[in-house]
C-alpha cells in the first residue's frame, strides 16, 4: 500500500503543463474569447507557440495553407482545435522516456494517449452523439495518473503481475489491491494539481469504472473515454505491462449503443490519423506501434 502523502509528493514532483495551457483552459471555456485573447495567452511561451504551430500544420488538420501565427491558427481552426493542439503540445513534453512499473516506453504511452483522444471523438461522431466539449482532451489525459505512480509499481510489480497472470485479475483491480490506489484515482489528483478543467479530472478518475460516475452530466464523456481506452488497448495502441487484462464495462457500451460495425469502422478510419498526430511530437524512447 502506498501512503497517501507519498502519492501527493509524487504528484507535486511531476513536470506540469505549461502555465499558458491552464490560461487557455479558462479562455476556451468562455464564450467571449477572441483570437487575440488566445494569442496573448500563448505568446509568452515561445516553445509552446512553436509546438502548437507544428501541430496545427500537421497532416492531421490537413490545412491547405500553412499558418504561421497563433491568431491565424485560431481563425482557421477555431479555439477548440487550438486549445486541443496546445494541450497536446504541452502534454508531450511532460512524458519521461520510460514510465517505470508499467514497462512502457514514452512512444508507446504517447500513442496510446493520442489514440484514446481521437477514438473518443470519432466514436462519438460515429454514434451521432452530441460530443461533450472536452472529449478529445479528456481522452488525451486519461492516464496521467500513471506518470505519478509508475515508480511505486516498480517495487510492487511482481505482486501485480502475479495477481493478473496467475489469478486472471483485471490490471486495475490488481493495481488497486497491491497499491491501495490506482492510476485513475491518482490521475484526478494530477488533473487538479495541473489546474485543468474539472471534466478532465472526471474523465481520468472514472475511466475504468464509468458506472460509478457521480454526476449524470459527465456520463457520456466518461463512457466515451472508457470505450475508446478499451478499443485502443484492443487494437494494440499502448501495450504496457497490463497487456489486454482490462475489463470492458458493458453498461457503458450499452449506454452509447455501440455496435460491432461502428467499432470496426472507427478502428479502420482512425488508423492514419492516430499515426499522423502521434508522429508530430513523437517522444524519443522505444519502438511504438
Amino acid at each position: 500500500m502506498i501512503p497517501t502523502d507519498a502519492v501527493v509528493a509524487k504528484v507535486d514532483a511531476l513536470p506540469t503543463l505549461p502555465a499558458a495551457v491552464s490560461r487557455l483552459a479558462a479562455l476556451h471555456g468562455s464564450e467571449t474569447t477572441s483570437a487575440s485573447d488566445f494569442e496573448d495567452a500563448i505568446k509568452p511561451d515561445p516553445a509552446l507557440t512553436a509546438n502548437l504551430l507544428k501541430m496545427a500544420n500537421s497532416a492531421y488538420f490537413g490545412l491547405r495553407r500553412e499558418v504561421d501565427s497563433v491568431g491565424q491558427a485560431v481563425t482557421v481552426l477555431g479555439t477548440k482545435r487550438v486549445w486541443e493542439a496546445a494541450v497536446t503540445a504541452g502534454f508531450s513534453k511532460t512524458i519521461p522516456d520510460r514510465i517505470p512499473g508499467y514497462e512502457v516506453d514514452s512512444a508507446v504511452f504517447w500513442k496510446h494517449c493520442i489514440a484514446v483522444a481521437i477514438l473518443s471523438e470519432r466514436l462519438s461522431s460515429q454514434m451521432e452523439l452530441r460530443t461533450p466539449k472536452l472529449t478529445f482532451t479528456a481522452g488525451l489525459l486519461h492516464d496521467i495518473g500513471k506518470l505519478a505512480i509508475g515508480s511505486f509499481l516498480t517495487v510492487e510489480a511482481t505482486l501485480v503481475l502475479s495477481r493478473m497472470r496467475t489469478d486472471e485479475m483485471d490490471f486495475v483491480a490488481a493495481e488497486r489491491e497491491v497499491l491501495g490506489t490506482d492510476h485513475a484515482e491518482v490521475g484526478a489528483t494530477v488533473a487538479d494539481k495541473w489546474g485543468l478543467p474539472e471534466a478532465i479530472g472526471v474523465g481520468a478518475r472514472w475511466h475504468h469504472c464509468p458506472d460509478e460516475v457521480p454526476n449524470e452530466e459527465d456520463q457520456v464523456l466518461v463512457d466515451l473515454v472508457h470505450v475508446a481506452d478499451a478499443l485502443a488497448h484492443t487494437l494494440g495502441y499502448g501495450a504496457d505491462v497490463g497487456e489486454l487484462a482490462r475489463t470492458l464495462d458493458q453498461r457503458a457500451a450499452d449506454r452509447l449503443e455501440l455496435t460491432v460495425d461502428c467499432l470496426e469502422l472507427v478502428a479502420c478510419n482512425t488508423l492514419e490519423e492516430i499515426q499522423q498526430v502521434s508522429e508530430v511530437f513523437a517522444p524519443s524512447g522505444g519502438a511504438g506501434k
Binding site: L231, T234, G236, A239, T247, A253
Partner: protein
C-alpha cells in the same frame, strides 16, 4: 500446438530487422533478416515461410472483413484479412515461392475481458482467417492466439524460426 521456451532453442541474433506496421505486408528473401511486428492485440499476424526458397513474409492485419470499409480496403488491402492474406501469398509467389512449400504460423487475436464480445475483434479476426485458409487448402502449422496477451512476433528469414514475446516471456512457435 504447444510452444517451447526460446532459450532452449539457442537463438542466433541476425543483424537486419524489417518492421511490419499495422495494416502492412512485408516479404523478404534475405536470410540474415528478421521480420518483426510489435504489440499485436486483437490484430493478427500471419507468418509464411518457404524453406526451399529461404523466403518469408508477414502480414499484420487489423480487421476481419473489408466490407467494414471498401474504400479503406482499396487503399490499404492489408488492413483486412480477406483482402490482405491473399496478397501476402501473392507476394510470396512473386519471390518464386510455391504454395506447397509454404509453412504458415499465426499469432495474435487477443481480447479484453468483455462478456458480450462486442470488442472481441480478435476472435472475429481469427474465425475469418481460419475459414479463408481452409477454403484455400492451407494448413496452419503453429498458432498462438486469443487470451489477454499482447504479442510481439519475430520471424527469422533464414531459418523460418518464429518467436512470440508476451507476458514477459519469449516462446518459440
Amino acid at each position: 500446438m504447444t510452444a517451447t521456451p526460446a532459450a532452449a532453442v539457442g537463438a542466433r541474433q541476425p543483424t537486419k530487422q524489417l518492421v511490419v506496421d499495422i495494416s502492412e505486408i512485408k516479404v523478404c528473401a534475405d536470410p540474415d533478416t528478421t521480420i518483426v511486428t510489435y504489440a499485436l492485440g486483437s490484430c493478427i499476424a500471419v507468418m509464411v515461410y518457404d524453406p526451399v526458397r529461404q523466403a518469408a513474409g508477414m502480414i499484420h492485419y487489423l480487421l476481419p472483413l473489408s466490407k467494414a470499409s471498401p474504400a479503406k480496403a482499396a487503399q490499404t488491402p492489408a488492413m483486412f484479412a480477406d483482402t490482405g492474406v491473399p496478397l501476402l501469398f501473392e507476394s510470396m509467389y512473386k519471390l518464386s515461392c510455391q504454395k506447397k512449400d509454404l509453412i504458415v504460423k499465426v499469432a495474435g487475436g487477443g481480447a479484453l475481458y468483455d462478456d458480450k464480445g462486442t470488442f472481441n475483434i480478435g476472435k472475429r479476426n481469427y474465425t475469418v482467417l481460419r475459414k479463408l485458409l481452409w477454403k484455400n487448402n492451407v494448413i496452419i502449422k503453429r498458432e498462438d492466439v486469443g487470451g489477454t496477451k499482447s504479442r510481439t512476433v519475430r520471424m527469422h528469414v533464414g531459418s523460418g524460426r518464429v518467436t512470440v514475446h508476451s507476458h514477459g516471456e519469449e516462446m518459440e512457435l
